[in-house]
């Protein structure tokens, strides 16, 4: 019983939850989006700045459960400073992990702390929590790129 639970609530996740990185909205930004998880009401406001083909900043403000908070923290830390294309690939990789129902082997080289979410993939109801900020990031980045080609 506690094995699945412990697989979900990895130390890494609880650490990011208690001490989230990059939390708090920052300037400058090219796009800001607001995403909501309709079933539970978890929310994130997220800003993205893109410069010279790099994700130069990601900042956010959010309310939500440990999984959604930790996921935002891990994501921001992972993507800031990456070339947009590479960040998109990381996004894809995280998406594949979360939608894999526990059958996808995470690649630590790509996802770093993100591999801690592998245990969440077994709980369909929580997958949305883990993806909330990632989806917001993708949306905001798309907007930022439209703004500034």
């Amino acid at each position: 019983m506690s094995t699945d639970l412990d697989a979900m609530y990895q130390e890494i996740i609880l650490d990011h939850y208690k001490n989230p990185l990059h939390k708090g909205l920052r300037d400058p930004f090219q796009a800001e989006v607001h995403h909501v998880n309709p079933t539970c009401g978890d929310e994130v406001t997220l800003r993205v700045q893109v410069a010279d083909g790099l994700v130069s900043d990601v900042s956010y403000d959010s309310v939500g459960c440990s999984i959604s908070q930790a996921s935002a923290s891990v994501m921001a830390d992972l993507l800031i400073g990456k070339p947009v294309e590479e960040a998109m690939a990381v996004h894809e990789s995280f998406l594949a992990l979360m939608q894999g129902r526990g059958s996808v082997e995470p690649d630590e080289d790509v996802l770093e702390d993100g591999i801690a979410f592998a245990g969440v993939a077994k709980f369909p109801a929580r997958v949305k929590c883990a993806l909330l900020s990632w989806m917001a990031w993708k949306d905001a980045t798309a907007q930022a790129l439209e703004e500034k080609p």
Binding site: V36, P38, T39, G41, F123, P124, A125, R126
Partner: protein, 422 residues
């Protein structure tokens, strides 16, 4: 003769064993001859068992529940959507909306168009085109829409031999036309309509095409994109699934432009007392607790049909329909309404019997164990078109045998003698 009929499902007796009700006797001991499948189909054991298993072991509300039962139930519900999407070859599962029946699905379209703004809006000067062979469920919603918005309702007439009269298509479907809604297969005449051809004309003038596939999906392999439809609807209980569930498929770009239909839980993104925003498709159109166990049953139903194969079912229907048309032709005073070639029609055959009212026909048939429908079959205008007040309808499905058609023909002969006609 019957035994050698070409196109019959090979393991028909085995298939019949899947349907518990077919073992019933009626009318004091006679075997049931169920020829009312266009009204509602019978259910195979696997559909019933799947529903029971869900209720006994996995029942919980969907989407909202985080616990294990909730996860199981959501998984079962959403995977039914996947299976239905695959069954009708929908490009995306999100384009599959669960409704309570086909009627609600048609009303969903008509109602959301009534409130739509922008290019989809239907108002004065606009026209909606239907046909004279529609089921009431594809007439009344459009009457309500056009009455309420000041638009005009127009329709294709019918030819003497039971086809759509498309000779005036260019006058009927014009720049003013906003919607063309028509049945793929008539539930009364059996006619199979040239949906793709009509859709082509409709799309030329920028109209939306709504296809009532309630009688088509049970019988014909359906590819929604190839059909030409923008929206296509059908109903669970006619495809060996339960009542309480229907399906609306719609092209994503169209569905995404439609305003909400019913408001409530599950269809929202966020709610404040001042205003709400709405979820994406398909959930935007599924307010409240959806028909969960019904979706699960429908998933099992389309799996069952897929397992037998829709091509095979279609061939079986054609064989039985041809055999029935031949048999009915031997009954003196009997006139079939609609096309007389099996290849031009679906498996519902409506007919008149000289000198005996359809109620009385159905009653005598029932006393022989033969279940048919009598009345206007929710297609009053089509009856009126042919000057017929009501008719008797025999309709087959994948479990129907030639011997059952023989029983029908025999019972009709008995009816004639009972009422001393001819």
């Amino acid at each position: 003769m019957a035994a050698t009929l070409e196109g019959l499902l090979p393991e028909l007796e085995v298939i019949r064993k899947d349907f518990p009700i077919l073992a019933r006797t009626v009318a004091g001991g006679l075997p049931l001859v169920y020829l009312d499948s266009a009204n509602t189909s019978q259910k195979p054991q696997v559909v019933i068992d799947t529903m029971v298993d869900h209720l006994e072991r996995h029942n919980a509300n969907v989407a909202r529940a985080m616990h294990q039962l909730g996860a199981e139930s959501s998984e079962a519900f959403e995977s039914a959507r996947d299976r239905v999407a695959a069954f009708i070859k929908a490009p995306s599962r999100d384009e599959v909306v669960f409704t309570k029946n086909a009627s609600e699905a048609l009303n969903l379209v008509a109602n959301t168009l009534a409130w739509a703004r922008g290019p989809l809006a239907v108002g004065e000067g606009d026209e909606v085109v239907i046909t004279e062979m529609e089921h009431h469920s594809n007439i009344v919603p459009w009457q309500l829409l056009t009455e309420r918005t000041g638009a005009t309702l127009r329709w294709f007439g019918l030819t003497e031999d039971g086809h759509l009269d498309t000779s005036n298509i260019v006058d009927l479907i014009t720049e003013r036309t906003k919607v063309v809604s028509l049945t793929w297969v008539s539930n009364m005449l059996g006619t199979v309509n040239p949906v793709a051809e009509i859709a082509r004309r409709a799309h030329e003038v920028g109209a939306i095409v709504v296809v009532d596939a309630s009688q088509a999906v049970p019988q014909i392999p359906v590819d929604v994109v190839a059909s030409g439809a923008d929206v296509l609807v059908f109903t669970g209980h006619k495809v060996v699934g339960p009542t309480g569930i229907g399906v609306l498929w719609g092209r994503r770009e169209l569905l995404e432009q439609l305003p909400p239909f019913l408001g409530g839980g599950e269809m929202i993104e966020t709610v404040t007392m001042q205003r709400s925003t709405y979820a994406g498709i398909p959930h935007r159109f599924e307010a409240g607790t959806p028909p969960i166990v019904e979706a699960v049953g429908l998933g099992a139903a389309v799996d069952y049909l897929d397992h037998i194969g829709m091509e095979n079912i279609h061939r079986h229907e054609q064989a039985i329909t041809g055999y029935a048309l031949d048999g009915l032709a031997t009954v003196p005073g009997l006139t079939v309404l609609g096309p007389l070639q099996a290849t031009q029609r679906g498996g519902a055959i409506s007919f008149e019997l000289d000198g005996v009212h359809p109620h009385d026909v159905a009653q005598v048939l029932d006393a022989r164990g033969v279940a048919v429908r009598a009345g206007h079959h929710c297609a009053k205008p089509a009856h009126q078109r042919y000057g017929v007040q009501s008719s008797t309808r025999a309709s087959s499905y994948l479990y129907t045998t030639p011997a059952e058609i023989d029983a029908l023909v025999e019972a009709l002969e008995y009816t004639r003698s009972y009422f001393k006609v001819g």
